[in-house]
């Protein structure tokens, strides 16, 4: 009895194991765990925020730009973080350029937010792209920043910069 069950298990393993070993890369577990290879660059240049067809006040555009620079510098993902137009960036060979375009902007109200907690949120949706010097797009993402409860409307810029910096950290 024991002998026959051992034989059955051995037979089952004999059938399954060669199959599993023949295609190791296609098992669903391995496929989901495989991480995309990280990009590499020593420096990044951050371009000012483009409004596209969306009406967005200048203070929001420049606040996103400044907070992005602050965040990416703080994260240390890149050895150098250049502002738009910085002549020093011309000397860096493996420079990548971050461009951000606003897709949607909704300015809420701090008062409404704090009184109702469900209305008055400020949101900004953007498309970010990281390109190499030759124009090749290396990375493209749609992200959004929000202020839902406390804080000034301008706080949305901080949330958005945090998300963009996180995405850069994950990709480089």
């Amino acid at each position: 009895m024991r002998h026959s069950s051992t034989l059955r298990i051995a037979g089952f393993l004999g059938l399954v194991l060669p199959l599993a070993m023949a295609q190791p890369g296609t098992s669903p577990r391995t496929a989901t765990k495989a991480k995309p290879s990280k990009l590499s660059a020593s420096a990044i240049q951050i371009e000012p925020i483009e409004a596209g067809d969306v009406t967005i006040p200048a203070e929001f555009r420049f606040a996103i730009y400044e907070r992005l620079i602050e965040r990416v510098r703080k994260d240390g993902t890149f050895q150098k973080v250049f502002r738009s137009g910085d002549h020093e960036a011309d000397k860096v060979a493996d420079l990548v350029i971050l461009r951000t375009t606003v897709g949607k902007f909704k300015e809420g109200s701090q008062l409404k937010r704090e009184l109702t907690t469900v209305t008055g949120g400020t949101t900004v949706d953007v498309t970010t792209s990281v390109a190499a010097r030759d124009g090749r797009v290396l990375l493209q993402n749609d992200l959004s920043g929000k202020v839902r409860f406390f804080g000034e409307n301008l706080g949305v810029t901080n949330d958005l910069a945090k998300r963009i910096a996180k995405r850069l950290r994950e990709s480089f």
Binding site: P48, A51, D53, P57, E59, A63, E66, L154
Partner: protein, 176 residues
């Protein structure tokens, strides 16, 4: 968990005595020029976010003096965009923020009254400029209501450029 009633009353009373407008007009250090007390939102190098200080124009240079070593100077001629906006925000500065946070614990959401009492409207002044290395900077300040337009006029008179409104920027970009 609720705060004792006496604590809530003390918080509310504290909130009522806070200045609604924490920004004001002073005088520039060492000069007879008037200086605005403004809040630096972001953008000036080596100046903390939310740092308060004096903003004034002297010898064609816009200066922000936040006391101690927090001083920033931007030549007016390097400014290529001056934008004025407005924002409703919370008055009372840091104290206001602490009082409001503590009042969250007040029963029946009565702490929200402070939101109404402490709100204040400010002007937002945004300038964009290029430094000597060609790098673009954007500096944002919160000013007392109605003052940003005057600062803008002074900056333009000192040699700053106005900057294109967003719609015009779009047209220019489309033409390129």
């Amino acid at each position: 968990m609720y705060l004792p009633t006496s604590a809530i009353v003390a918080i509310m009373a504290g909130g009522l005595t806070l200045p609604a407008q924490s920004l004001a007009v002073g005088s520039a250090p060492g000069t007879g020029h008037s200086a605005l007390i403004v809040r630096h939102v972001i953008g000036l190098e080596n100046i903390r976010s939310q740092q308060s200080g004096k903003l004034f124009l002297q010898n064609g240079t816009m200066q922000f003096d936040g006391g101690k070593n927090f001083v920033a100077k931007v030549p007016a001629t390097s400014i290529d965009g001056v934008y004025v906006g407005s924002e409703t925000t919370q008055g009372g500065g840091k104290v206001g923020r602490v009082v409001k946070t503590a009042a969250i614990a007040a029963p029946y959401e009565s702490g929200k009254v402070l939101t109404l009492l402490l709100r204040t409207k400010v002007d937002i002044l945004t300038i964009s400029y290029h430094d000597n290395g060609g790098a673009l900077h954007g500096a944002i300040f919160a000013l007392p209501k109605g003052q940003a337009a005057d600062v803008r006029t002074q900056l333009l008179a000192a040699g700053a450029r106005e900057g294109a409104p967003p719609q015009q920027e779009l047209k220019e970009r489309a033409q390129q």
